[in-house]
Amino acid sequence: MLPEALFFSAVLFAIGVFGVLIRRNAIIVFMCVELMLNAVNLSFVAFAQAYGIAGQVFVFFVMTVAAAEAAVGLAIIIALFRHRQTVDLTNINLLKG
């Protein structure tokens, strides 16, 4: 089932990229990143079935990093909200040239 799994993984990753680009809510954008991580995990698991277990070990690490990233990222979003009273990314343009 490797080609099918890679197909689903590719479509999910593209949906994640699409979501990052069209949404303005910082939390939704952040969740789209999680969706992309999940899509890559699906590829890893599919490859692990065909080429050896190391892919599953890597999924384990990706999940750990995703959990750490979610904790820090959501803390940043809360700090941002406290500062600006919004999570709309069009209003967060301090670094815009």
């Binding site: 939390i27 939704i28 789209c32 277990i53 809360i78």
Partner: protein, 187 residues
């Protein structure tokens, strides 16, 4: 599940959960309400857990449900609740120009990934058909992943604990209300 002799039910369930995942993901990126979006993403993650089980990764499937759908998404829901963002008034989808750009980038990435998946890998690298399934039958679902994790990848595993410690400290520092000398809130 052995290769070559895939029963129809296996293929059917694989496609079923794959398309549930894709449709839920599409609904997730198009919902106006953040709470509805989170719940559709949870649905995607459950379908992915089912796909992991079908791909002989039962442990990863369980972790997917426990950590991703269970813990990470609940934290997202908590933040949406704390910031009172659940109403989704007017939606937050960007203008038509952004949609076209996003669609083009999405299709470009999809095409690239399809081109990469067409590449052939050496047949000597592939495991014999049904290798993972027989390994699980012999040693259980956790032993095949635990052995490399605590041997070849032990250093990476230990470094992960430092990463988690840094994340915990970072989250506390960022989430803390900062006060100046008179006790007034600063940020």
């Amino acid at each position: 599940m052995a290769h070559g002799t895939l029963p129809l039910a296996y293929t059917f369930h694989f496609y079923l959960f794959g398309f549930i995942a894709i449709i839920s993901a599409l609904l997730f990126v198009t919902r106006k309400s953040p709470v509805a979006a989170v719940l559709w993403l949870v649905n995607t993650m459950f379908s992915l857990a089912a796909l992991y089980v079908l791909l002989d990764a039962q442990f990863i499937g369980a972790i997917q449900v426990l950590v991703y759908a269970g813990a990470i998404m609940v934290v997202f829901l908590f933040v949406i609740m704390l910031l009172n963002l659940g109403h989704g008034v007017g939606g937050d989808i960007r203008t038509a120009g952004w949609k076209i750009v996003a669609g083009a980038v999405g299709i470009a990435i999809l095409a690239e990934i399809f081109a990469v998946t067409k590449a052939k890998t050496a047949i000597t690298l592939t495991l014999p058909a049904g290798f993972a399934a027989t390994q699980i039958q012999q040693t259980g679902a956790i032993a095949p992943i635990a052995a490399p994790l605590f041997n070849e990848y032990l250093l990476a595993f230990e470094v992960t604990s430092i990463l988690l410690l840094a994340a915990v400290v970072g989250a506390v520092v960022l989430g803390k209300q900062r006060t100046d000398v008179e006790g007034q809130n600063v940020a």
